[in-house]
């Protein structure tokens, strides 16, 4: 467990929680990233402005963090192109079919004590762990 970073993880989580609180207090919306993005792909988009602004902030934040903190450790994306495409398709489709992802169900839904979100979070955590178990320990990737 030498990779465990509890303090930065907890306070990073607090910032994510504050983001959810800010969006609810100001716009009355749930900050679920798949819902915010998916709303832009609906047949009638009437509220693109705040959705695009949220996404812009999300993309700009690590660069802002790097500018203030003097850099951000590099991230490791080692998957092949085929795997990236397959995973992206599953994540996008699954998040919309299941009405949420790690943020909408895992953070906002659990904070609201929504039974649907507890079930969804349990299912995607289990599916994610099972997938990593198969790819790393059964197939030995």
């Amino acid at each position: 467990m030498e990779n465990f970073t509890p303090v930065s993880a907890f306070f990073g989580g607090v910032l994510i929680g504050l983001s959810v609180v800010v969006l609810l207090l100001t716009n009355g919306r749930i900050a679920g990233v798949s819902g915010v993005v998916g709303g832009l792909l609906a047949s009638k988009v009437r509220d693109a402005g705040w959705r695009l602004a949220f996404i812009l902030g999300l993309i700009a934040a690590p660069l802002l963090y790097a500018a203030v903190a003097g850099g951000v450790p590099p991230i490791a994306v080692t998957s092949s192109t085929g795997l990236l495409i397959a995973a992206g398709l599953l994540v996008g489709f699954g998040a919309r079919l299941g009405s949420g992802c790690t943020s909408g169900h895992g953070v906002a839904g659990i904070a609201r004590l929504s039974p649907r979100s507890f079930v969804a979070t349990g299912v995607f955590l289990t599916a994610g762990m099972a997938t990593v178990f198969v790819t790393r320990h059964v197939m030995g990737g």
């Binding site: 009437r46 398709l89 289990t126 997938t131």
Partner: protein, 154 residues
């Protein structure tokens, strides 16, 4: 305009949280999902910090206000049923998450850190979301009208 600025601030806070907690790094996320390997419980601490903060905020806001600051009403999910759609969708999402270690928030935030591989994932994710929208138009969920009446507004 106020709604847009507030959303920009919220998105920025979200991305700063993902950066500080290192959840923008798929290797960190996979370290959490790999319970049989060199397990890294950090993601559980992220969820603990985020859900406890959001729970306190929700309680204060929804207990004291009848409407948000810049909109007419709160837009909260109303669905209650734990149905096949929810479970199958979460399972499909979880498999994709476990394959690469990216989910929608960290994928968007990661665009500026490792553009090429993350952009490939994000484009595929958008295609997956668009496929869901198309499916909804061909086969609407139970209880919804097959096609909206002409001129019917939302």
């Amino acid at each position: 305009m106020r709604q847009t600025i507030a959303a920009l601030a919220a998105g920025t806070l979200f991305g700063l949280g993902l950066t500080l907690s290192r959840m923008v790094d798929p290797a960190k996320v996979l370290g959490f999902l790999d319970i049989a390997g060199n397990w890294d419980p950090s993601l559980a601490l992220v969820l603990a910090g985020a859900t406890s903060t959001a729970a306190i905020g929700f309680r204060l806001i929804l207990g004291r206000r009848s409407a948000p600051l810049f909109a007419e009403a709160f837009s909260l999910p109303t669905a209650r049923a734990i149905d096949r759609r929810l479970v199958i969708g979460a399972a499909i999402f979880g498999v994709g998450w476990g394959l690469v270690g990216l989910c929608p928030g960290p994928a968007l935030a990661g665009l500026g850190l490792a553009f090429r591989p993350v952009a490939i994932f994000v484009i595929a994710m958008l295609v997956g979301m668009a496929a869901f929208e198309l499916m909804g138009r061909v086969r609407p969920p139970a209880g919804a009208p097959a096609s909206p009446a002409p001129g019917a507004g939302r």
